[in-house]
């Protein structure tokens, strides 16, 4: 089997985070692939919720959009978009929100709106989608994105979705019902919030990656956990399941 790519390692590591039987609100793209991989491996009873209103979808391949027909066909229930946000997400029924990001800061706050000035943006990004309320209401949030100094910034150009806000107990002061981000999974390693400050620090490095790489790919002075661990190499089982998933093999 080929060596795993950086994206594959990131996806496998993200999948490992997802425990069985959790209710997971899934963003499209890498999070959706990771969540579906988890469902095929160790979390067969994870309930995948997509913002299109499909609850308990069991797609055979990663859907291109959050509204592919297969999601509805395989779901336990299909509800309207207003209902998925009010009765399901906002009501606190989601255990894990699984999000991507264009920019993230040291507290796990997310920007998916603009790069540069909002009124005269350098890059206009897609915007919020379901992320702000997923970040606010899910019991915890996993964030997944490729690490680079353009993405891991000291200050967001726009705060689309709140993570640990300004650190410490500042998130709690906002009256949010969800717990906030508990992990950031990148192509280099894994970051987790430091107790107390709730600043994200590097807690694991993927195979072949170095602390220096991680620091260079981070726009704030990245701190390294005292208990830095090495990510276990994706197993053959994980890799072949991931590749089968992407190829649409059931």
């Amino acid at each position: 089997m080929n060596e795993p790519s950086a994206d594959e390692i990131m996806t496998v590591v993200a999948a490992r985070e997802l425990r069985d039987r959790v209710v997971c609100f899934v963003g499209i793209g890498l999070p959706s692939t990771a969540a579906n991989l988890a469902r095929r491996m160790h979390a067969p009873n994870a309930v995948l919720v997509y913002e299109s209103g499909t609850i308990g979808a069991k797609p055979t391949r990663p859907p291109l959009s959050i509204g592919d027909g297969e999601l509805a066909d395989t779901a336990d229930a299909v509800v309207s978009v207003p209902e998925i946000f009010s009765y399901w997400l906002q009501a606190g029924r989601v255990d894990v929100g699984f999000l991507g990001a264009a920019q993230v800061d040291r507290f796990g706050n997310i920007n998916t709106t603009v790069v540069g000035d909002y009124r005269k943006p350098k890059v206009r990004l897609p915007g919020a989608g379901g992320a702000p309320e997923i970040a606010a209401s899910a019991k915890e949030t996993f964030i997944m994105l490729r690490q680079s100094s353009r993405a891991f910034v000291s200050e967001l150009d726009f705060c689309t979705s709140v993570g640990n806000h300004q650190g410490g107990d500042s998130r709690d002061m906002l009256g949010m019902t969800g717990g906030g981000p508990s992990v950031i999974i990148t192509d280099i390693g894994v970051l987790r919030p430091e107790p107390g400050t709730r600043e994200f620090v590097l807690t694991a490095l993927h195979p072949g990656r170095t602390e220096a790489e991680a620091v260079a790919a981070t726009g704030w002075p990245l701190r390294i956990s005292e208990n830095l661990t090495a990510t276990e190499q994706p197993t053959e089982a994980e890799l072949s399941a991931l590749r089968a998933l992407k190829a649409g093999v059931t």
Partner: protein, 275 residues
């Protein structure tokens, strides 16, 4: 109470959509009314305020064609593919004309549609606190629970002039039936002053799979447009044309390739649907 009138798509757009209108073409990945949007482009409507949770390829086309003055939305991307280059070109470089934007989250947009459909001036949600949204819009306000003192967020109702959706079926009385992913199809019609529904076909009795029914008397016009959601899809009738969404990336990236495509595929095409 007037029953929905069955007419051609060209007639529906010409009689119901006016320059300057606020219009909502909805469909959450599923049942997106592409044919109706193309007809609006073809009839040269201008200064529209376009409302849509996910202004994907369809609104990229309408914005690129110069129909829009303003966009009210919550996620403007090509799902699973990338950017909307026509939307970006309008926002970043004011081409073909400046585009005002009013930006929300999905939950906020959904609450706004629900308020509009419910005849309420505002909706309430847990949302936006700590984010930057309120810095750029006056459509987000704080509201206090009179019982608990909790701080929540209020958003104003959406009340489009015209709501446009695609659905699988209408029956002979003009009742609309749809199934599969429902999105905010019902709210787009119920929040609007007028409405156009394109359908795959008219049937004697609605399919037993129908989960959402819109009675005839709340719909203004029905047009029979088989395949009217393409490259989106109609559950039970067609599959999503994912290839087209991927291809759109190259078509839309450049002003000229876009204009050529729009000319050939929209402007010089016959009006779609059954007449």
């Amino acid at each position: 109470m007037a029953m929905a009138e069955v007419m051609t798509l060209a007639e529906a757009v010409s009689s119901l959509v006016k320059d300057g209108d606020m219009i909502a073409l909805e469909g959450f990945t599923h049942l997106i009314p592409f044919a109706a949007g193309h007809e609006i482009i073809r009839q040269g409507r201008r200064d529209l305020t376009l409302v849509r949770m996910t202004p994907d390829v369809l609104y990229d086309q309408m914005i690129g064609a110069g129909c829009a003055r303003k966009l009210i939305f919550s996620w403007g991307g090509n799902p699973g593919v990338g950017s909307l280059h026509r939307l970006r070109d309008a926002v970043e470089h004011e081409w073909p004309r400046p585009l005002e934007i009013e930006e929300h989250s999905h939950a906020g947009m959904a609450a706004r549609y629900v308020a509009g459909a419910s005849g309420l001036p505002f909706g309430v949600l847990r949302g936006y606190s700590g984010t930057s949204f309120a810095d750029y819009t006056d459509t987000i306000a704080e509201i206090i629970c009179p019982f608990t003192g909790e701080r929540l967020t209020a958003v104003p109702a959406l009340r489009p002039d015209v709501g446009v959706i695609h659905a699988q079926q209408a029956d002979r009385h003009g009742n609309i039936g749809l199934w599969g992913i429902q999105g905010v199809q019902k709210e787009a019609v119920l929040s609007a002053d007028r409405s156009i529904v394109t359908v795959e076909e008219i049937v004697d009795v609605l399919d037993s799979r129908v989960t959402v029914t819109l009675p005839s008397w709340i719909v203004s016009a029905i047009a029979v447009v088989p395949g009217g959601a393409h490259p989106s899809y109609a559950h039970g009738y067609s599959e999503r044309d994912n290839g087209f969404y991927v291809a759109w990336e190259e078509i839309a990236r450049d002003r000229e390739t876009f204009s050529t495509w729009a000319d050939e595929n929209i402007l010089r095409r016959q009006s779609a649907g059954v007449s």
